[in-house]
Subunit: 411 residues, 2 copies
């Protein structure tokens, strides 16, 4: 008789690799032949609180099914943005969850997500310790922002970086066709961490030197320097491409778009930016009176499954598998991390780290990986980023569009 039962959940914003981690967990559970039930929470911990889950144990048993799951973007299981309350202030929520765990004889709990999801893992494992529960709570990282502490990088980031670099290259081709001065501002996701904006530098090739300028949120954005930088580039070329993080701030720490009429806040109180590119477009036009436009890469940078990085998807799968091994070894309150052994040849290994040391923290681009003028990245950052976007995933298409699966029919 099989003795293990687990829950798997996905939480936070979408990435292209999050279903690859799910695939890694499911296949490892199957391989061990020890899992009686593999429950998927629908819409994360919030869905679980509403008794919304189903059993995956008879699904994804062929390589074809696994491949389809791996190539599908966003969350197969759905997501939530839900901050688990402290157990002191709301013990009922914890009792509800643990009564479900008891009823189903849950031994392992796998939660795939970013900062806020690791907070959930930390809180649940803390409560379990107090209650002397021996359920293993394991966090599996994912975020296109690459801002989790402890790990060399996060699954999902490499694919987003590949999308950003490719789009940057294509925008450069688009903007270079006319013989006239032009400035194109490309706004890239990244609230406080500039990793993804930095990845635009990977667009440079023998045939295109875009982006010409890169502005990250880790250093202040100074309008006069921006003008000076553009004047400098105009001395040698006509079509300027600027990569800018949505989250750049001025010398007083104010977001450049904080006065934008589109400014909104998410449930955690974080400002949702969508006006930085437009703000720089206006600034540049007022000064240079040439053709200026802005492009917002928007949600596609985290959801374009057709342009995944093979390195990223393979690692996400491996991390999912490692999470099951970790739980079976008896560990809890851990997040799986990636340690880089070398850049060239690129080599990594999986390890674990105390989830409490990761939750609610943020890892930004080191200042000494940004150039002195604060308008580009340097070689250290380039060498770090380069391996993460390598390799293409040969996804399957159906009727001319990618063949992605979902659980729409189960809802």
């Amino acid at each position: 008789m099989k003795k293990r039962n687990c829950f798997i959940g996905q939480s936070g914003g979408p990435t292209v690799a999050i279903n690859a981690s799910l695939a890694g967990i499911i296949t490892k559970c199957h391989e061990t032949n020890e899992y009686d039930h593999i429950y998927g929470m629908i819409n994360g911990i919030k869905g679980l609180l509403e008794d919304n889950y189903f059993d995956l144990v008879d699904m994804f048993k062929t390589q074809h099914d696994i491949d389809l799951l791996m190539q599908s973007p966003a969350m197969y299981l759905g997501s939530c943005r839900y901050k688990l309350p402290d157990y002191q202030s709301d013990p009922q929520t914890y009792m509800t969850l643990f009564s479900i765990f008891d009823k189903l004889n849950i031994t392992d709990f796998f939660y795939i997500g970013g900062n806020d999801s690791m907070d959930t893992v930390a809180k649940l494992s803390h409560y379990a310790k107090i209650m002397k529960s021996d359920i293993h709570f394991i966090g599996i990282p994912k975020t296109i922002d690459n801002d989790l502490k402890g790990t060399d990088h996060t699954p999902g980031f490499g694919s987003a970086a590949k999308y950003v670099a490719t789009s940057m290259l294509e925008i450069a081709y688009d903007s270079s066709i006319y013989k006239l001065n032009s400035i194109t501002i490309v706004e890239i996701m990244g609230r406080n961490a500039g990793w993804l904006t930095a990845a635009s530098a990977l667009a440079r090739s023998a045939h295109s030197d875009a982006p010409d300028l890169i502005y990250l949120p880790e250093v202040p954005f100074i309008r006069e320097n921006f003008y000076r930088d553009i004047e400098e580039v105009f001395k040698t070329k006509k079509n300027i491409i600027v990569a800018v993080s949505e989250g750049i701030k001025d010398e007083d720490g104010e977001y450049i778009d904080s006065k934008s009429k589109y400014a909104k806040r998410d449930v955690f109180g974080n400002i949702l930016h969508s006006g930085t590119g437009k703000a720089l477009e206006t600034m540049a036009y007022e000064r240079f009176k040439c053709k200026v436009r802005s492009v917002e890469l928007n949600v596609l940078q985290r959801s374009a499954g057709h342009l995944a990085s093979k390195v990223d998807l393979d690692e996400a799968y491996m991390i999912g598998q490692y999470a099951v091994e970790t739980a079976m070894k008896g560990d809890s309150a851990k997040m799986i991390i990636v340690k880089r052994i070398s850049d060239d040849p690129y080599q990594i290994e999986c390890l674990t780290m105390d989830v409490n040391a990761i939750a609610n923290q943020e890892r930004c681009v080191p200042i000494d990986w940004i150039n002195e003028k604060h308008n580009y990245i340097n070689d250290k950052l380039y060498d770090y980023l380069y391996p993460l976007i390598q390799g293409e995933v040969d996804i399957t298409y159906k009727n001319g569009i990618p063949n992605y699966i979902s659980i729409q029919h189960l809802k």
Copy 2:
């Protein structure tokens, strides 16, 4: 001794297929073994007026080089937006051009472009007739807008349509992860013709029914109907996806975004829209007070070479080849057109048409291909669109990004 010399130019906005037509012309010129020089204008007719051209005759002689050219988006030869004056008002411009033609013993002139480019071909061939020049002026169609008369569809459209359908699918996956009401507005290019916005319907699959609503510029956009349509969809699902053309107009024929602060005009006096998605976002939020966002697909829909339609690229190449055959037969003042023989199996043939019947005209979506409620397309339009996005192009990557070529180094 070889007796023919030609000019090739590219003009107007970028597409993913325009270099495939260039490849078709070059390879056919090579194959015939009759061309002494194959001149490429740099930046179209405007560049030619500045004596800016180079000889392509020794280039693109291997399949590898042709493949790289075919997979590279935008214009290898650069482009211009230049309206050729009438010869009566500005004979000097024509004398300048024809003196270059005389000097180089030009026999054939190939111009790849949209409406405005066909106007250039029409004017030059008209002048040639008056001057009793026997140069053959041939127009090769391209535009993502698919709005040229006479041809079943235009090269470049199929790839843009594939990008739009794929992006729509990925945006639908992105927006479906949370269990809350949301409206996502996706703004798609198309000034007066809704073909590309209509192509978003190709995103529908067994796993996703987005887009839920499609608004085309061929029918008036009525705000109250928009609200009614959304209310109707909310009855059965939570996450609504709306595809809207940038050029929708109200009952009085006013562009919905005409009062947008971003409204600009191009050199032909056409309004450059960029606020329609935002305008609908604001409308929807004011009425429904739920999560609303807008995504502008922007320039990537015309430049994302990595997601080309194989049908589109193959046809663009074939049309380029046919243009050379047409010139060699002694024709002039013609545009190459595509005639559809059947939808299923999909079959076409190349023909020619008098360029004067095409220039400065516009072909919109027939009203009877739009549903009665004016919020979706019907089966006739679906059947028309479906074959054009079929097939993927196995492009090559280098260092993790697509391997595109350019003439940056020649400039």
